[in-house]
C-alpha cells in the first residue's frame, strides 16, 4: 500500500520530466528570406569569413552566465553545429576538473593567472593565428600580456579590475587607497573578495611590495598587517559582493568593476575608486584544451562571436571592460546609448592612468600553499 504511494509520486515526476522534453517554447526560427532570427528577435549576421567545419558539436566549458543567449542560437543556426554548454563558477573548479582528466571540452575561459599555470602543465594547445582573423578586432592594449606572451595560447575575451567601492551616502571620509581600508572608522563595515591572492595582494601593495611576491619574509609582514584589517571586515564574498552593499550590511569594500556598476545602477550613491597603490587587473581569455575533440568548430565559434556585430552584446549584458575594438566601433554607430553608458563610466571604461598603475596577477608557483596558509590563519584566527 505504501509502496503504491511511492510509485505514484515517482510516476508523476517521470511524466513531468517527459513533458519538459516536449515543451519547445521559444525555439529559434528561420524565415523564408534565408535570414536566421533568434527567439529574442535578433537577426543573426552572417559570418565575416565562413570557416569550413566538419564537426557537428561544440563543447563549451565557460563561466556561468557569461555568454549572451543570442550567440548560441545564432551559431547553431548559421553553422548547424549543436552546442553543449557546461558551466563553472571558479577558475579553480575548471582547473581541477580538467587536470583530473576531463578531456572533452573544446573551449574554456581561463583568467590570466590560471592561463600561465595551464600552459605550464601542457593543458592548452597553441592557437593557429592564420585561422583566427578575429585577432584583428582586439584592441592592442590587451594583447601580449605577461601571462601569455605573444598570445600563443589565448585570445582576450573580457577584462576588468578589482578596486574599492563605497556608498557615498554612508561613508563620510571616502577611501582613496588600499591603505585607507585600515581606518578604524570602518570597523565591521567592509566587504572583501574571498580571494587570498587579491586580499593578500593589496596588503602587499600597501607595504610597497610586488603583488606576485614569493618572498616568505614579505608575506609574513603582509599576514601581520592583514590581521589588523580583520576587525573592519564584516564578510568575505567572491560570488556577489554587491549584495551586501545594496542590502546595507556593509558600506564599502573591495569588488570587481562589474559588480560596482550593477550596484551603482541600484543605488546611484555607489562610487568606484581606483586606489593610489594600483588596482588589480584581470582578463578572461578564450583557450582551447589540448585534447579538444572539435577544434575546427572552436575556431568557427571564436571568429563568429568576436565580430563587431556580435560582440557588442557584451556591452548590453555584462558591465566589464571590452577588449574588442570592433565591437566598440559597431556600438558607437548602431547602439549609441549603450556605447555612451560604457564610455562615460570610469567603471567600465577604465582610465588609462588606472590601467598604467594597475598590475596583473600571476601564478606564484610553490608559494601558493603559503598564501593559502596565511589565508587560513588570518580567517580562522577568531
Amino acid at each position: 500500500m505504501k509502496s503504491k504511494v511511492l510509485w505514484k509520486v515517482l510516476a508523476t515526476l517521470l511524466v513531468f520530466s517527459m513533458l519538459l522534453t516536449a515543451c519547445g517554447g521559444g525555439a529559434p526560427t528561420s524565415d523564408s528570406g534565408g535570414e536566421f532570427v533568434t527567439s529574442s528577435g535578433f537577426v543573426c549576421p552572417q559570418p565575416d569569413q565562413r570557416v569550413e567545419v566538419t564537426s557537428t558539436e561544440l563543447n563549451l566549458f565557460v563561466w556561468t552566465e557569461y555568454i549572451p543567449v543570442e550567440w548560441k542560437e545564432c551559431f547553431e543556426m548559421v553553422y548547424g553545429i549543436k552546442i553543449n554548454h557546461d558551466e563553472y563558477s571558479s577558475n579553480e573548479e575548471m582547473y581541477a576538473k580538467l587536470s583530473a582528466g576531463a578531456t572533452t571540452y573544446d573551449l574554456v575561459l581561463p583568467t590570466d593567472y590560471i592561463v600561465s599555470l595551464m600552459i605550464g602543465q601542457g593543458m592548452l594547445q597553441k592557437l593557429d593565428k592564420a585561422q583566427l582573423p578575429a585577432f584583428d578586432n582586439i584592441d592592442i592594449g590587451f594583447l601580449d600580456l605577461p601571462f601569455d606572451p605573444g598570445n600563443q595560447y589565448t585570445m582576450p575575451y573580457m577584462a576588468g579590475n578589482d578596486a574599492i567601492v563605497y556608498n557615498a551616502d554612508r561613508v563620510s571620509n571616502p577611501p582613496t587607497s588600499w591603505a585607507d581600508l585600515w581606518n578604524p572608522d570602518y570597523a565591521g563595515r567592509i566587504v572583501l573578495l574571498d580571494d587570498p591572492r587579491v586580499v593578500i595582494g593589496f596588503t602587499l601593495l600597501t607595504l610597497g611590495y610586488d603583488l606576485n611576491t614569493k618572498d616568505p619574509v614579505q608575506l609574513e609582514e603582509a599576514k601581520q598587517k592583514l590581521m589588523e584589517l580583520i576587525p573592519n571586515v564584516k564578510l568575505f564574498d567572491s560570488d556577489s559582493p554587491k549584495t551586501a552593499l545594496i542590502a546595507g550590511d556593509v558600506d564599502l569594500g573591495n569588488v570587481w568593476n562589474g559588480e560596482a556598476f550593477t550596484a551603482k545602477q541600484e543605488d546611484p550613491a555607489v562610487e568606484y575608486v581606483y586606489p593610489t597603490e594600483g588596482a588589480i587587473l584581470w582578463q578572461d581569455n578564450w583557450a582551447i584544451p589540448t585534447s579538444a575533440p572539435h577544434v575546427d568548430a572552436a575556431y568557427a565559434w571564436i571568429n563568429y562571436v568576436e565580430q563587431g556585430n556580435m560582440f557588442w552584446m557584451m556591452l548590453r549584458d555584462f558591465p566589464y571592460t571590452i577588449p574588442n575594438a570592433a565591437a566598440l566601433e559597431y556600438a558607437k554607430t548602431n547602439e549609441p546609448e549603450l556605447y555612451d553608458a560604457y564610455i562615460n563610466s570610469p567603471i567600465t571604461n577604465t582610465p588609462p592612468s588606472a590601467l598604467a598603475n594597475g598590475a596583473y596577477m600571476e601564478d606564484v608557483g610553490d608559494a601558493t600553499p603559503l598564501y593559502d596558509q596565511i589565508w587560513t590563519e588570518v580567517k580562522g584566527g577568531n
Binding site: 505504501k2 579553480e92 574571498d194 546595507g248 600553499p369 593559502d372 580567517k379 580562522g380
Partner: protein
C-alpha cells in the same frame, strides 16, 4: 546453484551484499587508497604530487612545528586544531538541536493515522526538494540586518512604540548553526520516524493501563525502542555537518573556517592535494571513531555496526 543459495546462509548473505560491494570497491575503495597514498606525498611547485612517504602533512595538521620563535624547540600552532575543534563543536551542537527538534515531529507522524503519515512525511521533504544553496540564500534574506525577520520585529516594535535596533544575525556563528540545523533536520527526522513507527500502537495503551505516566512511558519504552533511529540519524547529521562548506561560507560570511572549507580550499585554491588528502583522512578517521564509540555506547553495535 539455486540449491546452494537456498541452503547456505553465508552464501545468501554474500549474494545480497555483492552489488553493494561492487559499487563500493569499484568506485570508492580505489580513490580512497589513492587519497591515502597522496597524503604521504609532497607538493610540487606546480601543484602536482610527488609521491613519497612522509608524515609532514599530518604533522602540519596537528600544528607541531620545529620552527619556533622564542627559543623553543617544539611549539604548537593551533590554527588547524582550532578549525578541527570548531567543526566538532558545530557538528555536536547541530546534532543535539536536530534531535530535540526532530523527535516531537517524528513521534507525531509515527502515531498519526496511517493514511496521513506519508503526507506528513512528504510535507517535510518538500522544502528539501528545492535547491540546497537557494535555501541558504533564503535564510540570508531572513537574517539580514535589513531582512525579513528584523523587518517584522521592527514593525511590531513600531506598533508598541518600542525603540528597535535591528539585530545583527547574519555572518555569525549562530547563523551558521541555524543554517546547518535547517539543512540536516530531515536526515534526523526520517530515521527517527522509521524507528518510532515500528512501535506497536497498542504498547502505549498497555503501558498506560499498567499505570505508567506519559513521561515514564516515554523514558522506559519509547526512547529505548527508538534508539536505532536516533543512532542512524546522528550519523546522518553529524558526519555531513563536518564536511559541509557552503553553509559556513554563505551564512558565516566566509569568516568561519570549518574543516570542510579547509579541505575544499586545499584542492581548489591552494592546489595542494597532499595536504587536502591528509586533512580528508583525518576527518574520515575522526568521524569513524565517533560513529564507532557512539554506536557501541548505546549497546547496539552487534545489531547495527559490526565493527
Amino acid at each position: 546453484m539455486l540449491r546452494k543459495l537456498r541452503e547456505d546462509k553465508s552464501f545468501q548473505g554474500t549474494t545480497l551484499i555483492s552489488p553493494t560491494l561492487l559499487f563500493m570497491v569499484g568506485l570508492l575503495v580505489i580513490p580512497l587508497i589513492l587519497t591515502l597514498v597522496i597524503s604521504f606525498g609532497s607538493r610540487a611547485a606546480d601543484g602536482t604530487v610527488i609521491y613519497g612517504f612522509s608524515f609532514h602533512n599530518y604533522v602540519r595538521l596537528f600544528g607541531i612545528s620545529t620552527e619556533c620563535t622564542g627559543g623553543k624547540t617544539i611549539c604548537f600552532d593551533p590554527t588547524y586544531a582550532r578549525i578541527l575543534s570548531r567543526s566538532l563543536s558545530l557538528a555536536f551542537n547541530t546534532t543535539v538541536l536536530a534531535i530535540l527538534m526532530a523527535y516531537p515531529l517524528a513521534y507525531f507522524i509515527a502515531r498519526a493515522p496511517s493514511k496521513k503519515r506519508n503526507t506528513f512525511l512528504f510535507l517535510i521533504l518538500v522544502p528539501m526538494w528545492t535547491n540546497f544553496v537557494i535555501r541558504v540564500y533564503a535564510w540570508m534574506m531572513l537574517l539580514r540586518t535589513h531582512g525579513v525577520i528584523n523587518g517584522v520585529l521592527g514593525w511590531l516594535a513600531g506598533l508598541f512604540g518600542i525603540d528597535f535596533t535591528p539585530f545583527e544575525m547574519l555572518y555569525t556563528q549562530g547563523a551558521v548553526l541555524v543554517g546547518m540545523v535547517y539543512e540536516f533536520l530531515p536526515f534526523m527526522i526520517l530515521p527517527l520516524y522509521t524507528s518510532l513507527e515500528k512501535i506497536d500502537l497498542s504498547l502505549y495503551e498497555a503501558s498506560a493501563d499498567l499505570g505508567a505516566s506519559p513521561i515514564r512511558t516515554f523514558l522506559r519504552m519509547t526512547l529505548p525502542l527508538s534508539m536505532p533511529g536516533v543512532v542512524s540519524g546522528t550519523i546522518l547529521v553529524f558526519v555531513p555537518v563536518m564536511g559541509t562548506f557552503i553553509v559556513s561560507d554563505l551564512l558565516g560570511g566566509r569568516q568561519i573556517v570549518l574543516i570542510g572549507n579547509l579541505i575544499q580550499n586545499q584542492f581548489l585554491i591552494a592546489r595542494d592535494p597532499t595536504f587536502g588528502s591528509a586533512a580528508s583522512i583525518i576527518l574520515m578517521i575522526m568521524t569513524l571513531i565517533v560513529t564507532y564509540f557512539y554506536t557501541r555506547k548505546f549497546g547496539l553495535s552487534e545489531e547495527i555496526v559490526g565493527i
